[in-house]
Subunit: 228 residues, 2 copies
């Protein structure tokens, strides 16, 4: 469902060059539950952003659900994203003036869902991440972990084909983190959502089908954790 070929992203800073990604070749099967690990600065967010069409590579190819997105004009990317991808950002990116419920409804608005149905589904997604009692709060009135969970609810509410989650449990206690990973497994098994999680947590990675390790913008290792 995702394929990258020689995916490369280079940032020019004055005279020097930063190879955030350096020729990444990756194939992700439909329905897979994958994790990506690696040191801070190794290129994990860059990889996710390129797969999720939030950014364009310097060179190389991304094929997303059969579409060679790296050949599309920039203007076509938002639509592809909305139809196919749910994204949990490393820094949440919630709209501060909207409530938790309104933030989660946003992808459903774009999908043209009626207001009654939007409300019902957004409420359900928030209950799934344990925030049924925080619907009317705005991001400033919520804890770090609560904001992260709103971002997760927003990413899953549209049942995307692919869920890309950039460190979705970085701000969560062990108990809440386990519940979130349970939820992602449920989506994977029951709704066939392909899941790619960037994580620093070995416990989270051990609960995925395959772990990809990045170092200095390259894949250096792959592992299949023993199934429990």
């Amino acid at each position: 469902i995702v394929e990258t070929v020689e995916l490369t992203k280079i940032y020019k800073m004055g005279p020097s060059e930063i190879r955030a990604l350096d020729g990444v070749n990756l194939a992700i099967e439909k329905g897979e539950f994958l994790s990506v690990m690696g040191r801070s600065g190794s290129g994990k967010s860059t990889l996710l952003n390129l797969i999720g069409c939030l950014d364009r590579p310097t060179s190389g190819t991304v094929i997303l659900d059969g579409v060679e997105v790296t050949r599309l004009p920039k203007g076509k990317l938002p639509q592809i994203r909305r139809e196919k991808v749910g994204f949990v950002f490393q820094q949440f990116n919630l709209i501060p003036t909207l409530t938790a419920l309104e933030n989660v409804e946003l992808p459903l608005r774009y999908a043209g869902v009626s207001s009654g149905e939007r409300r019902r589904r957004a409420k359900e997604a928030l209950e799934q991440v344990g925030l049924g009692d925080r619907l009317g709060h705005r991001p400033m009135e919520l804890s770090g972990g609560e904001c992260q969970r709103i971002a997760i609810a927003r990413a899953i509410v549209n049942r995307p084909a692919i869920l890309l989650a950039d460190e979705p449990t970085g701000e969560l206690d062990t108990h809440t983190a386990a519940e979130i990973i349970d939820l992602m497994h449920e989506l994977n098994r029951e709704a066939g959502v392909t899941v790619v999680i960037v994580t620093h947590d070995p416990l989270v990675a051990s609960r995925t089908d395959r772990i990809i390790y990045l170092s200095d913008g390259r894949i250096v290792r792959e592992e299949k954790p023993p199934t429990t």
Copy 2:
């Protein structure tokens, strides 16, 4: 060096009330290395914000380095904070238009340090967190973990009496997280900095002198991890 008496923070949301902190009594010795754990939403950031004078309680007392800060007029708090506290925010709070170096220099500017000395000490702090090669980058040009480390460098550059860190390793891989905790231990041992870390990482907590557990705004348990 820190004492709280019946510390309480209540948020009114329409007809209902959220007891973010509910009568917290805590005494922290000078030079202690403490961690605070608890579920998402249990009141950890609220506790840190009240100790660090970023916010005022609904009732109760905070005594910081001999000063009853809850009795001071609001206008006096910024000065107390700058002189006594280094704060690492859960969401980093860097200035997006400034470079890594300029962000870390900021507390030294407030302290009236000369520009040459400021540059030298900020550079040193950034090297200590492993970002000596990112001095000229702005937050948008840095990874999540790199931003978190700038926030840490900024909090320690002024050798504060008390370092309050709200989940300082939430975005860091295991290796980089261990280096940051090593650095905090070094400050604690060699510069006598009192350290309070909110963390979800049991490995980080196991490396502190005492662990305080919060639940629904109250301290429910205390533990002394076995010393390695």
